[in-house]
């Protein structure tokens, strides 16, 4: 089977479906800007003074949260979209039809969220343009090679978390503890809205268990301090370790979950 053809078919299908809800399509892009404006005015309220917890990153609050949100918005797509897409297929009644075809699990996983990643890329572009032209952010010091490496390692890791989360959807339909953790604690404990140094010691220990902590910190340092791979070696190694563990485990477990649903006859249930 031609994997590129399958991915293209999924992207086209999802684009056409999204486009058919015209207002939602336009509001999605506007919501991104509205979100940013909230943090811009919070940043203005507290002035340009550098909080001690922001010193390692060498930037003010708004630039910090702007970068983290843009980055997390993209890599978070992997974490959230697999379970969401799968649930949509279940409720639409198309999951069984899709899995009645010769489509294999790896091709399904590559294709299922391709549209979400494309849309997230568009949102990232909106962030970049808004940062440059509306909020006048100075990212001149950024080490983009280093940032790209963090991006790549983080995207794989978060996609794996998303695939793991979708296993719960495949088996239990509703009630997804991993999605609950990802939705409620990644932003809070991972340093997206503020540096983790603000947290009490025991919560910092918990945040060290989450890949998002390493991903956001490394990305901030690469973008605001121009940190090269050697400077953020620890974070890169942690992300690589998460990748090595989570990517094969998630693909294998998803395959097992599909097989179990085929055995139990629950592919068509929602």
């Amino acid at each position: 089977m031609n994997a590129a053809g399958v991915i293209a078919a999924f992207v086209r299908r999802d684009f056409l479906a999204e486009k058919s809800y015209r207002l939602s399509f336009a509001l999605g892009a506007l919501a991104t800007l509205a979100n940013l404006a909230v943090f811009y005015f919070i940043g203005k309220l507290f002035g340009g003074g550098l909080a001690p917890q922001l010193e390692p990153f060498g930037t003010g609050y708004f630039a910090y949260v702007f970068t983290a949100m843009a980055f997390f918005g993209y890599i978070g797509t992997g974490a959230g979209s697999y379970a969401g897409r799968l649930r949509l297929e279940q409720t639409q009644g198309t999951l069984e039809a899709t899995l009645s075809t010769p489509l294999g699990v790896p091709a399904l996983l590559l294709s299922m969220s391709a549209w979400n990643f494309l849309f997230a890329t568009f949102e990232l572009l909106v962030y970049a343009l808004a940062g440059a032209f509306i909020f006048k952010l100075d990212l001149g010091a950024a080490n983009w090679w280093s940032a790209g490496l963090v991006f790549l390692l983080s995207a794989g890791c978060f996609a794996a978390l998303g695939i793991l989360s979708s296993c719960f959807v495949m088996l239990f339909k509703r009630g997804n503890p991993l999605a609950w953790i990802l939705n409620n604690f990644e932003g809070l404990l991972g340093g997206v809205y503020f540096p983790v140094a603000v947290l009490p010691g025991w919560l910092i220990a918990v945040s060290n268990l989450l890949p998002v902590t390493y991903a956001v910190r490394a990305f901030q340092l690469a973008v605001h301090k121009g940190a090269g791979p050697a400077m953020i070696k620890g974070d890169l190694l942690a992300l690589a370790a998460f990748d090595l563990l989570l990517i094969p485990a998630s693909v294998w477990l998803f395959g097992r979950a599909v097989r179990r649903a085929r055995r139990a006859g629950t592919l068509g249930e929602y």
Binding site: V6, L16, S20, G93, S100, A264
Partner: protein, 223 residues
């Protein structure tokens, strides 16, 4: 392609903590079919759909053997070999047109967009489906038209094993006649299994009809 099924068992477990008991939908079913059309009759709940879904590789069997072309066929291989038209025609993306749906499912079956479109355009008039309906959003189609689109999805794969579960449901007379011709044509090159609650249509579609009851099919020839 010769299809041989022996002692096929499929049991659906009761939902966790439901206190229910498992449902044994197939209880040692046997079936032999060669290239050509074979009808499968049976009452509601007799196991026809479970049999078809298992032969299509949508479900995994619990016991028994399935040989396709003389070789053991796993669920994965069956999904390569079989095209399955479910009894319910609503398993499509409602916000997409019928044509876009066929193009999407064609891609999953290895067809290029041009092939999928060409095959749909060829099959549609045979079932009395107007070209304008292929360009209409799926949720705006009547139930019978949805069924025609579902049939085109299965027929356009030109698979060696074609499984049509209640294919006449909701079709008008012209479409029924067209479908009978298409089934006969498919039977020249593929192993076709068809179910229907209409004895007349089943007899018109298949020279040989087997019956399934309580998940069992007696082995061998015509019933």
């Amino acid at each position: 392609m010769r299809l041989e099924v022996k002692g096929l068992v499929k049991e659906f477990p009761a939902p966790l903590f439901s206190g229910g008991t498992p449902l044994r939908a197939l209880d040692g079913a046997d079936l032999e079919a060669d290239t050509g059309v074979t009808g499968v009759g049976g009452a509601n709940g007799s196991g026809k759909t479970t049999l078809f879904k298992t032969l299509a590789g949508v479900l995994e069997k619990d016991a028994g053997t399935i040989l396709a072309g003389g070789a053991a066929a796993s669920a994965e291989r069956l999904r390569q070999l079989a095209a399955y038209c479910p009894a319910n025609p609503r398993s499509f993306y409602f916000r997409l047109t019928a044509g876009e749906n066929l193009r999407f499912f064609g891609a999953l079956a290895g067809l290029s967009p041009a092939e999928a479109e060409a095959r749909a355009a060829k099959l549609a008039p045979r079932l009395g489906l107007a070209a304008v309906d292929l360009g209409r959003r799926f949720d705006r189609l009547s139930e019978g038209t949805m069924q025609k689109v579902s049939l085109i999805r299965a027929l356009s794969r030109r698979a060696p094993l074609l499984l049509l579960d209640e294919p006449f449901r909701g079709l008008d007379g012209i479409a029924c006649r067209g479908l009978l011709e298409l089934i006969a044509e498919a039977g020249k090159t593929s192993t076709v299994l068809v179910t229907s609650h209409s004895r007349e249509l089943l007899a018109a579609a298949a020279a040989r009809t087997l019956r399934i009851g309580q998940g069992r099919m007696p082995p061998g020839g015509p019933q």
